[in-house]
Symmetry: C2
Subunit: 130 residues, 2 copies
DNA sequence: CCGAATCCATTACGATACTG
DNA sequence: CAGTATCGTAATGGATTCGG
């Protein structure tokens, strides 16, 4: 039987491609996947806890990342109107499912890490001997 | 049986995370996936044909993208020592398999596009009414 | 506590011109 | 033809300061 044609071939550059680009940009930034990971375990965390658990993120980027994720429906922002402020972030179903959709990439990584490393070393060796 | 725990939870931030970051950056740039798509169909193309088929890419970025892909073993660069120059790029098994690994994202996109759009519209509506 | 605003260094990338 | 080199602009992201 014919092997299944990769669907991405039809999807990239198709009318939906602009949106695909958006999704790609969304997950490809430095922090979104880490937030998804942390929130997948904790389900709900307030801002400062997220900051701690992620580690190394500036609050500017955390804010920006969370806003974007909220906009795309990946997290819910829950503001408790108290002083001092208390804001919780909870992952949505959509957010979780995106985390799972990315697994194919991690599997590819695991399966091919050695081959990639070998290719890279070979390339660098070729490049360095003038 | 237990449903499989998303492996990304263990992989992100693990010792292999740096490498995961690399892979993510690799596929997340503006052009790599388009090159994979075009080359998956054509198997082998010379520089100028690639430039045409991708459309909208500058030769600077095409060169850079191809060099990076070559370094990671996703394409093979075949130089024919003639004048004028003739250079073919062929996709490798590794390159093809990466294209397939990304499918999970496109499937997620297809399955959830409406929900994401709805969330985004709702967010924007909330944001715009002051 | 949460987050907006400002400043700054670095990088990304398109346009253009040049070369073996 | 298949690049490299240079330039200018725009976007990215960290550090810091300020405010409700």
């Amino acid at each position: 039987m014919d092997t299944v044609r990769s669907p991405y071939t039809e999807i990239l550059k198709s009318p939906g491609w602009e949106f695909g680009r958006e999704i790609l940009d969304l997950i490809a930034d430095k922090w979104t996947l880490l937030v998804i990971e942390v929130l997948s375990e904790a389900r709900e965390l307030r801002f400062t806890r997220l900051e701690e658990q992620i580690g190394g993120i500036s609050q500017k980027m955390l804010t920006k990342t969370l806003r974007q994720m909220e906009r795309y429906g990946l997290v819910t922002r829950i503001v408790h109107p108290v002083i001092p402020p208390h804001v919780d972030y909870r992952i949505t179903e959509l957010g979780e499912s995106l985390g799972e959709a990315v697994c194919g990439i991690w599997e590819w990584k695991e399966a091919n890490q050695e081959r990639v490393t070998a290719a890279r070393n070979a390339y660098d060796a070729r490049a360095s001997r003038k």
